[in-house]
């Protein structure tokens, strides 16, 4: 099967005047973790809903697992799992009851359902919460339950909309371990996030902003594109240096990070270190090239491109 898990061309979704998703192209291969990185309101949730067949696209074509969406959406329901951004299991039902309900709706036999539940409850560490109502659980516990519920029927493709927003860093690592376990078994995962560290773990990612797809590729490739454009400056009076740097037309952004000032230059500057030395000289600064981070990629992709 060479067909990608998700294929979208010129996918758009408008809400009246608002253009939530604007002509997005996607090719998401099977068996990978694909990330959507984007600020609030950038269209992550809307895109995921359109891919699941929950929202009819205003324009564009979508194929998921080889089926036309939304026309053939019913045919892929059993093969996809969806963990919504807002908790969508029943708060007045217990962990077990929620899972049993979804299992039977998904068409699992009683026995298969019980086995899957036992496996997942162990795997997601929900053993002590079996009889706890979902409404009485912490945010992180709920998200573990939601992930367990989304993968109960062993779907080929799982959509996770900001699955770790309420999870502490430690548990987030565990959570991602689970995702890699899933991928190892052949599952394709599309995950949206605000966190750079999570985005960096993805096999591939897309950066969304204002409904537009600003950049996509593997994290390494995205960062490599910025090679030679990121500079770190050490010295005194960094607040003033920052103001001076931002005044330069070649500088795209500057942000203080602890004792350093991190400066991102526009594309096409031959020797940024020499340029900055020359323009900011006389201040006794220590200037050197730095390894681009995903945050630099994000900043470069999402800052509005101005006239220059």
């Amino acid at each position: 099967m060479t067909e990608p898990a998700i294929h979208a061309r010129q996918l758009s979704r408008h809400f009246g005047e608002v253009i939530a998703v604007d002509r997005i192209d996607l090719d998401i291969p099977r068996g990978e973790i694909y990330g959507f990185l984007g600020p609030n309101g950038s269209g992550k949730t809307t895109t995921i809903r359109a891919l699941c067949g929950l929202l009819t696209p205003t324009a564009g074509e979508v194929r998921v697992l080889g089926r036309e969406i939304p026309a053939q959406a019913e045919e892929v329901r059993r093969r996809i799992g969806y963990m919504t951004q807002k908790f969508s299991l029943y708060e007045d039902l217990t962990v077990e009851e929620n899972m049993r309900f979804l299992g039977s709706i998904q068409g699992l036999s009683r026995r298969a359902c019980r086995q899957r539940m036992d496996t997942l409850i162990k795997e997601y560490d929900l053993g002590e919460l079996r009889r706890r109502r979902a409404g009485m659980m912490s945010g992180g516990q709920r998200q573990r339950l939601a992930l367990a519920a989304a993968t109960l029927h062993e779907p080929e493709l799982v959509f996770l909309d900001e699955p770790t927003s309420a999870v502490d860093p430690e548990n987030r690592r565990d959570f991602w371990e689970k995702l890699f376990d899933l991928v190892e078994r052949g599952t394709t995962i599309l995950v949206s996030t605000h966190y750079m560290d999570e985005a960096e773990r993805c096999h591939r990612l897309a950066i969304l902003e204002h409904g537009r797809l600003r950049a996509d590729g593997t994290p390494a490739a995205l960062m490599a594109q910025l090679d030679g454009r990121v500079v770190e400056i050490d010295g005194d009076d960094l607040r003033q240096v920052k103001a001076a740097a931002l005044a330069l037309p070649e500088v795209r952004s500057a942000a203080q990070q602890g004792l350093h000032l991190r400066v991102l230059l526009r594309a096409g500057v031959d020797d940024p270190v020499a340029l900055l030395r020359q323009r900011l000289d006389g201040r006794g600064l220590d200037i050197c090239l730095a390894r681009p981070s995903l945050e630099d990629v994000f900043v470069d992709a999402t800052r509005p491109e101005d006239a220059a």
Binding site: T56, K86, I105, G107
Partner: protein
């Protein structure tokens, strides 16, 4: 097969949720209790012993029968007899009596011809008294006054005929079965009208519609628990009606269950339709009230169907409660058989099927 499994799991889930929702559970039990006691006592004391006079110009046996019929209603207290209508009018103006019943000289011929038998002169200044006496205007006096009883068996069951089988004319006898219609309308429509909206508001719907469940399965699964709720409520109502108000059930239990189920189905599916239309639970409740009010006012519970203006009768015909009111009074008070009740029964069943079909068609597995 898997469709049945899915319906079963939705039903099981609804039952669980209902059993944990104290407010709704309280409503299931308290609503019939409170309503029944309120209506039962309030209506009983509302219109009694209104002082009236009688002007019997015919002096016939029929005149005495009719006067007696009016007296035993206990709505009125006959305090005076007059020989001319003018005297009675004078006493009404003076406030000594609230109304007078005038029976004309040719009463016997009128009864034989099936004409209006007499005239009520009513002091309309007190609206309560006025409407109570207007209610008396509908009394099927001509029945008792000599018409052959067999002539009425072919008529559709109605308020008037039901009254005929309530010789003491105690209001509870009508109130108890009538209240089943009001209470079932209220709870059945309310419960299902929020059913889908609630899941939408709480965000459950977004998950539910990504599963393979079909709209019809979801609808039916959500209805089933409330069928039992409805049966429980009718048991409460009729139980109290019997225990507290002494309104015994003389009919056939099977018939009672059949007509009740038909009405529960109609109300639940109407609620579902509301649920597919409403955006919020608040809206769903407002729409429910929109149906509930005419159901209470026009179904024949408050005012006799035949006394309503034609336009109101048309509206009443479109309400499931009106049809159920006829059915339940028929089954409960007259021991009518299903064969005699077919039109209303079929109407309710047809309504149920159509509402379910429309609600299902209107429900889309999408967030658009």
């Amino acid at each position: 097969m898997s469709a049945l499994t899915r319906i079963g799991s939705v039903t099981g889930k609804e039952f669980r949720q209902l059993s944990r929702d104290r407010l709704s559970l309280g409503m299931v039990v308290m609503l019939p209790l409170i309503q029944l006691l309120l209506f039962g006592y309030a209506i009983n004391t509302m219109v009694r012993d209104i002082p009236i006079g009688v002007v019997d110009l015919s002096g016939s046996a029929a005149g005495r029968v009719i006067t007696e019929q009016v007296r035993v209603t206990q709505v009125v207290d006959i305090v005076a007899h007059y020989s001319t209508a003018a005297q009675a009018e004078a006493d009404i103006v003076a406030g000594r009596i609230r109304a007078a019943l005038v029976l004309p000289e040719n009463l016997t011929q009128r009864v034989a011809a099936g004409d209006t038998v007499g005239q009520w002169l009513v002091d309309g200044s007190d609206t309560m008294v006025g409407s109570a006496l207007l209610g008396l205007r509908q009394m099927p006096l001509h029945l008792e006054a000599g018409a052959p009883p067999g002539a009425y068996s072919a008529q559709p069951p109605s308020f008037e005929v039901a009254l005929f089988f309530n010789p003491e004319r105690r209001s509870q006898v009508n109130i108890v079965p009538g209240l089943t219609a009001v209470i079932l309308t209220m709870t059945m429509i309310l419960f299902t009208s929020v059913a889908l909206v609630r899941e939408r508001e709480r965000g459950n719907m977004e998950l539910l519609i990504t599963t393979p469940i079909r709209p019809l399965e979801l609808m039916v699964g959500k209805l089933v628990p409330y069928v039992f709720v409805g049966l429980l409520q009718i048991t409460i109502i009729l139980g109290i009606g019997w225990g507290v108000f002494g309104v015994a059930f003389h009919g056939d239990l099977f018939n009672l269950i059949v007509v009740t189920l038909a009405f529960i189905g109609a109300s639940l599916t109407l609620g579902l339709l509301i649920s597919t239309q409403a955006q919020t639970q608040m809206q769903a409740m407002q729409m429910t009230v929109f149906v509930l009010l005419p159901s209470i006012l026009l179904s024949g519970f408050m005012f006799p169907y035949d006394a309503m203006p034609v336009a109101a009768q048309y509206i009443a015909e479109a309400l499931p409660a009106t049809h159920f009111m006829r059915l339940i009074r028929g089954v409960y008070l007259r021991d009518a058989q299903l064969a005699q009740l077919t039109p209303d029964l079929l109407w309710l069943l047809g309504f149920t099927v159509i509402m379910l079909a429309v609600a299902t068609a209107r429900f889309h597995k999408s967030l658009d």
